[in-house]
Amino acid sequence: MKRLLILSLLLWVCVVFYVGIYLFVGGFLLVRLEVNRTSTCGDVLHPGEEQGDFCHVKPRFRRAVLLIIDALKIDFARFDPTNATPRHYENKLPVLEETASSRPSHSRLYPFRADPPTTTMQRIKGFTTGSLPTFIDVGNNFASSAILEDNLIHQLGQIGKRVVFMGDDTWESLFPKKFYRSLPFPSFNVKDLHTVDDGILQHLYPTMVSDDWDVLVAHFLGVDHCGHRFGPDHPAMADKLTQMDGVIRSVIERLENDTLLVVMGDHGMTDTGDHGGESQKETDAAIFLYSPSPLFPKLPFQSEPDVVPQTDLVPTLALLLGVPIPYSSVGQVLLPLFPPHGQTEGAVGGLSQLEALWINAKQVNRFLKTYSGMAKDIPAESLSKLQDVFSRVSSDYLSTVGKGQTPSPELAASLQAYLTSVRDTCRATWARFSPLKMAAGLAILAFACLLCFILSELSCVLIRENVLRAPVVAALSVGVCVAAGQLFTQGYIEVAWCLAAAALSSELLFLWRAHRVRTSVVAGNGSKAPKRANWLTLRHLLVPPLLVSLLRCASLLSDSYVIAEGRVVTFLVFSLSLYIPIHLNWDGLLLPPSHDPLKPAGLLPSPALSPSAVRKESSTLVACLGLLVGSLYLSLSFHGCREEQGTCQPSPFLSPLSRLQDNKLKNLHYVLSLASLGLWTYLLRRWLRHYGNLNSSGGTVFTARVILPLLSVCLGLHWAVSATPEDSFRNLADLISLAQLALPRAAFCLLGLGLLLIWLDPLTVFVKTRTVAPARGSSLPPPRYRASTGISPQAELHHLIPQIYQRMRRSLEDGELSGGAELDSRPAVEAYGLGTVYSAPLLLFCGLLGIGLLLLHPEGMALSFLLLLLQTGALLHIHASSTALNSLHGAHSGGFDVPWTPVVLWSLAATQFFHATGHLPTFPSIQWNAAFVGFPGGHTGTILPASLVTLNTFASHILFAAGCPLLLFWPLVCEVRGSRGVRAVGEDGEDAVMEMRLRENPQQFSSALLQLSTRYLFILGAQVFASVCAAAILRRHLMVWKVFAPKLMFEASGFLVSCVFLLIGVTLVSRVDMAVGRWFKRLLPDESR
């Protein structure tokens, strides 16, 4: 067996996938660190009054009204009187233009440019923090969407302003408990145009008239929802905009002199009414500023901005209302709103332009310093350039103000220039998709999938050649070349592009080599040529299992299907498993053929055919199908709920026991969980014992005998302790808290020890040497039953493999010696458990791992884990039975190839149980409690809790990936049962060889193992590719940041974890293979002495 080659090939494939994912995610998911500092009134930002507290300076405005009209595009707000035939969305807001032209010193209308991603939540974050929120703001608490960064609402609350909010309930989740009064309305239903708006209108005017507020925020959603539902050019949009026109008019009527009105859109919309991307139609919203008291300088201001960036709202509002600018704001004050220098003494009050700019620049500089100390994503050279500019400008300013001179206009201009360049630097880092990187990632992933497919189809040919060396060498050399080139031309290295070049070159080289190998093979054996040549035809690809896999991939492109993913996957598993018996029946393999007297006897199928065996296999298959379907159906009741699923109730098993109030229910849940845990352990041990793997005294057997039961006892006790109500056993509180700490830790230790023992000594073979020589295996009196070794008579009968040794020896010694006499004089060897020597350690490994992962889940999930075990067993048996039925009829060609159907089922089951263990591909649904199992006091680092949460989230991916090689072993394990009807067991040694067949055909074993793993990787990789495509294609979709981007992240991380554990599983198999080889070697000289 070519262990190293297989492992390195798999590793290489995984690395190529990783590089593709890394590149795409790097271009698509913009990441930014959150600075969790807040500005305070005490911040010394003024140069003159060092002790001054600028919150106490009388602000320009006492109150403000913010009317946010979602998706108010600038085209909606403009008014063109010459337009005789306005479209439905044109000229419907005349109030803005009327006011702006009739009272130019009171009002202005500007285009208001948003930064991508132009989705409502990110935009609200943007114009309250003044920053450039990305999809992932690291440091954000994933469990809730509340904004932890410094923001305007927080600052207003700090200073004692009463903020009243009404409208889109996104605000309520972003600013929980921050409002003086809040009237949220449900925003989820896009088809509902009126609930939010009507709700606001009910309360808006009464609130304005009353004196119970300082800042009023009203967020209307009707226009946005109208766009999503009908598009902008629709009569409904005209109605909606006319309604908004009326609202603005009535608000303006009710304004008082000390109040500022801001009407704005958070983003625009495309011609189809969508938003989220970065086209100008989506980014350009409108902002309208108005105050009953004069707001702008009389004469036209010298530098009227063409477009107002959205970040600029925060510093402007903050300084106009007299609060500190939020810490992470990178915006720039809107200069026309501040009086020029020297005019502040008038009636207006507040800061002058230069003062405002100076405060702003100082705050931005402080933020930049803090941020660059935390993260390294802003290039160092631009940082130092900015720093230089700031120190120059600040010395200029200080000297000018210190001398009391009138500042030159250049000073204001250079302050502005500094602020603009900071914002541009930040935007370049945080708010720009990189289409080139995304495309490169997509290409690498597509090639990686193709490569996996080719590798799986041609595994038996490719494994003979040394296909890996050239691609790896090419990758290394190209990577180094690109790095050197970058260093030479740019002066620094961009790792992503070096990796991309390396991965692409190695993929292409591999594909070319595979093509050459294939053609040479085709040329080599002419007769097989047609069979091999057309393996990539459409007919070959459109088999039902691959079709199901394709459907699953296609379902990732629709938000509804992603939301209903758990049910969709269950549906597909059910369909594909029903396909197995139907397909067998179609081939006439399910039922024993009726005897046909007309048919000549010579045409009867292979002699191995026996009706009873066929009937037995078929009934096993049907029974297992029933078990599979049952567990599929039951697994549906363990699903959690996404917020998009309106009427869904999460499974009652998902809440931990300690939260259950009803004592009876609690006990019932506990007993159920305990029973499933016990059954899990029992079934594992029962299987091992049945195949005689519990007889020797090695490490694995010790694990199965001692550690496995101990581990489950630990887990059961841990559940009991953690479910005890804290107040019921006061006097035992110390003991309980100790147990809460000690039990899970003991379980972790046991788990580690068990896994280590399996790794160190994976053999479960018990050799019994007998001095009495047997003439033939079957003529022996059955060995006596020995309870201590745990062998049942049935196991002895079926699973002793007495002839193995002789067969091996014969094949080793070229079998020239005449056997009979020699055999008689030598002691025969019986090996218990040799038939399942590969699968037993792997199964035990997965079983132990399963209990360990169960430890990280809520107690109720034990039932789901039991279902997982049952379903896995059913799947394996169905696979084994269908293989046996195929081979019984002589239809099977030999070799150990695992067909696509079970592999696809296996991978779908992984996703199914991801959902059936209460997980969902959304961030709020991550089970953070897992991080505190065994560490109730919290952690100091981040690696340990992160890995615990990862293990919890991807538990089913881990189990299925590690157990993947079982698909290869199971038909061999079940082989004895299948052929017993034909020949009596033991009559011929060949019947009981089981997994030793693999040992006899190392070449086929290697190619089958490689094929199985690459097939599994192909299916997982295709899913990742599909979700990457979904994210790339649907960048503009309403749901991209809510559905597709989280799905992409979960799919990608699931893939990474699966890869790692698939490699671990394959490594364990090769470790066993090595141990078996050594065992035979040790046996051989021993016996020939």
Partner: protein, 219 residues
């Protein structure tokens, strides 16, 4: 011989298909407020009743059903009785399968059962007509070499089309389009009826184009 049988099949299929259309159109004229979505159950029953009746009469007139050995009234009655039992069992079977596929268990159980009745009258009833109440024969027919006459082949094609149609009909249900035909079980029953119609058209066509390859064993 071939042409004759194919012609008979085509005309009988045309008859069944037109009866399906009649079952949709006639109630729409006669019953107030009848529509495929609005009064879906009514449409379901009208379609399944009509299809059953037409199927039975067509196959009885054509004499396709397997020759019975005995002609006694008692034997015929027991066959009829067994057929009824099989019909019911098949309804229950389809109901179970549909529920396992994810249909709601308790609420809208009536709708689910109606779908099961429709599926039974589109598939099992044809099996009953062609093969008689003999499950072994049904299972055998659905294998590559299991068909023993053109009617068996047409049975294979129509049943497969109907079941696949119902399966495909489940796909639009999770989509958030809020269309009236997405309501359970409208899309599935529509899918199965459309699949059945496709099968009715496809079966004679397929047999016609593959008549050279088709060889049937004698019974």
């Amino acid at each position: 011989m071939w042409d004759h049988e194919i012609k008979a099949m085509a005309s009988s299929h045309a008859l069944i298909a037109s009866s399906l259309f009649l079952a949709t159109v006639v109630p729409a004229v006669l019953v107030q407020g009848f529509s495929v979505y609005g009064t879906h159950l009514l449409w379901l029953y009208s379609v399944s009743g009509t299809v059953s009746l037409v199927n039975i009469s067509v196959f009885w007139l054509l004499g396709v059903s397997p020759p019975t050995k005995k002609h006694s009234l008692g034997y015929k009655l027991s066959r009829l009785f067994r057929s009824c039992i099989y019909f019911l069992l098949s309804c229950l079977f389809y109901h179970t399968v549909v529920v396992l596929y994810g249909a709601p268990l308790i609420e809208s159980a009536l709708e689910t059962f109606s779908l099961a009745v429709l599926l039974t009258s589109l598939t099992t009833l044809r099996c009953l007509c062609v093969l008689g109440p003999n499950v072994q024969a049904w299972i055998r027919v659905f294998s590559r070499h299991g068909a023993m006459s053109v009617w068996d082949t047409s049975l294979q094609i129509t049943v497969a089309c109907t079941v696949v149609g119902a399966w495909v009909g489940a796909f639009p249900i999770p989509l958030d389009w809020d269309r009236p035909w997405q309501v359970w079980p409208v899309s599935c029953s529509l899918g199965s009826v459309i699949g059945f119609l496709t099968g009715l058209v496809a079966a004679p066509a397929w047999i016609h184009y593959h008549r050279k390859q088709l060889t049937y064993k004698c019974k």
